[in-house]
């Protein structure tokens, strides 16, 4: 039965994972994500799942990748310092096409920075933090409800694209409590199984190969080295490498127009806010308080892959205002895709932009 709860964002994330079918959590506790691990430790064993606290975040993501290769839906949760440690193995998950969900409840950085305060400083790290060329999917929740809903979505996308998917939350959304509606059933996308007779890394039109899970009778070689369709290393052929990397990037980037998820308000506006995560809540307040100003709002629920075509939905836009809890990471991406003015509104230190601060920028542009 669908039920209403008054729940913390991090708890809602864990509940979303369980509803989606996650049965493995490997992690190392870190503020402000710890409640996700705590809730999974409480709930997973009772559901026949496995919770394991690893010795660090490098081992955590390694355990998640291993669990996923047995066919389990697997996740970890961390924050900045742990996220940095996971970067090498995130590239391994990309190269081996391992479905997994990585939650980053962002806090102030660099380094240990501000453990208890909110930030969005890892938005480019999640896109580019591992070495080599690749593409990823990243979602950004702006409410406790979306901590649940977008975690479900993250698992479905990970399974569909055989790719790591990031839930890029922030301390504000992770730690606040509010109303959340938990449905009885959630949409579930299982990874496409391997078809005997094919090759384990041979993809069809969707560029995603079927998954030969360990323990199902297949002998499959999994490697981070450049590999052929059999999965065997072949690290010296320029063409093989180029084809593989272009397929890995293409399976995500090619789908960006169809999988992107955003809210669009007042598409005829001249001044348009672009936001994701906690600052979206301030933008929503500004639009609510000033209905006659016709202010536009593009709220990105999926930040990566960046679907630049949605910017064109704002046909009269003269300026995009981008409030972020960083020094302008996604504003830089928007600048790449528009000839309109892009106004960055950086906020560091943990506080959320106030409605007054953001409305003052609208007034200055008039």
């Amino acid at each position: 039965m669908t039920r209403t709860e008054f729940m913390q964002g991090n708890t809602a994330c864990a509940e979303g994972a369980l509803a989606a079918g996650c049965r493995f959590f490997g992690g190392y506790p870190i503020t402000p994500s710890t409640e996700i691990a705590e809730h999974m430790a409480l709930r997973l064993p009772k559901m026949g799942g496995v919770f394991i606290q690893m010795e660090d975040e490098i081992a955590s993501i390694a355990a998640v990748i291993g669990a996923s290769w047995t066919g389990a839906m697997a996740m970890t949760a961390t924050s900045g310092p742990g996220f940095s440690l996971m970067m090498e193995n995130i590239g391994y998950a990309v190269m081996t096409e391992t479905p997994c969900v990585i939650v980053n409840v962002q806090r102030g950085g660099p380094s240990t920075g501000q453990p208890t305060l909110s930030a969005q400083g890892d938005m480019l790290q999640c896109r580019f933090g591992s070495h080599g060329d690749y593409s990823v999917i990243a979602l950004s929740p702006a409410s406790v409800q979306e901590m649940f809903d977008l975690t479900v979505e993250a698992f479905n996308l990970a399974e569909r694209f055989r790719s790591p998917v990031f839930l890029m939350a922030d301390e504000i959304i992770g730690h606040m409590r509010e109303r959340v509606i938990i449905p009885d059933h959630v949409p579930s996308n299982q990874r496409k199984p391997y078809e005997p007779g094919s090759l384990p890394f041979r993809a069809g039109e969707d560029l995603v190969p079927g998954f030969p899970a360990f323990g199902k009778g297949y002998g499959v070689h999994v490697t981070g080295l450049t590999h052929d369709e059999r999965g065997y290393p072949c690290a010296t052929s320029p063409k093989l490498h180029e084809d593989l990397v272009k397929r890995l990037v293409g399976k995500v980037e090619g789908a960006r127009g169809s999988i992107t998820s955003c809210d669009i308000l007042n598409p005829d506006a001249e001044v348009v806010f672009v936001s994701y995560g906690a600052p979206s809540r301030t933008v929503q307040q500004v639009l609510h308080d000033h209905p006659d100003d016709n202010i536009g709002h593009l709220r990105l629920k999926m930040v990566w892959p960046f679907a630049e075509m949605v910017l064109a939905r704002f046909t009269n836009a003269e300026a995009f205002i981008v409030p972020e809890q960083n020094l302008g990471q996604i504003a830089r991406e928007i600048e790449r895709h528009t000839d309109k003015d892009v106004v960055t509104v950086p906020k560091l230190g943990g506080d959320l932009h106030t409605p007054g601060e953001l409305y003052a920028i609208v007034e200055n542009l008039k």
Partner: protein, 179 residues
């Protein structure tokens, strides 16, 4: 109508739990919207602790408390850090056992910690006395909602003690208001 309620005291008094219970009462039993946030730092263990709740009939957009209209203050340090700026229009409930200063806004003195210790035998329920007094003084949620939310949130075996504490809070607030 948006109401912003700020709770402050010292770590261990149940300041955060009080805010969670209030938010839960509003959402689960009065069919309102609520957002609960807290200062999430090491100072919560012993130093001044702060938690806030926003309650509204409409969905809550901006989730942070800017200017509280209701304060519940349970320690002197909490008052100095989180209550001293209260404006004239705000309402404040102070635990008069532990808060020695008096605010410049409207306020009600509730000797919650003394009552918890002397009448109920347990300091730990002072926060529940304050919750009862808050609901009696402001009507921010219904009495049945706060009672149900308290019962959802306290350890098994302590339900009777906590309902007594809530009831005592209602009585103390009514006495203070009629004085």
């Amino acid at each position: 109508m948006r109401h912003e309620i700020r709770f402050s005291g010292f770590g261990g008094q149940g300041i955060i739990l009080a805010a969670v219970i209030l938010g839960r009462a509003a959402v689960m039993y009065d069919n309102k919207y609520a957002v609960q946030t807290q200062v999430y730092g090491p100072e919560a263990r012993g130093g001044a602790s702060m938690s806030a709740v926003i309650i509204d009939d409409e969905p809550i957009l901006y989730p942070k408390v800017a200017t509280p209209d209701i304060y519940v203050i349970m320690s002197q340090e909490g008052f100095e850090k989180y209550g001293i700026a209260a404006t004239g229009e705000a309402q404040m409930l102070v635990d008069s056992t532990l808060v020695h200063s008096r605010p410049s806004c409207h306020y009600i003195e509730i000797p919650a910690t003394r009552e918890a210790r002397e009448s109920l035998g347990r300091d730990i329920v002072a926060n529940i006395i304050m919750l009862g007094a808050l609901v009696a003084a402001t009507g921010i949620v219904s009495r049945s909602a706060i009672e149900k939310a308290i019962l959802d949130s306290v350890p098994k075996g302590t339900e009777g003690l906590n309902v007594k504490a809530m009831t005592r809070g209602f009585e103390l607030a009514e006495e203070a208001i009629s004085r």
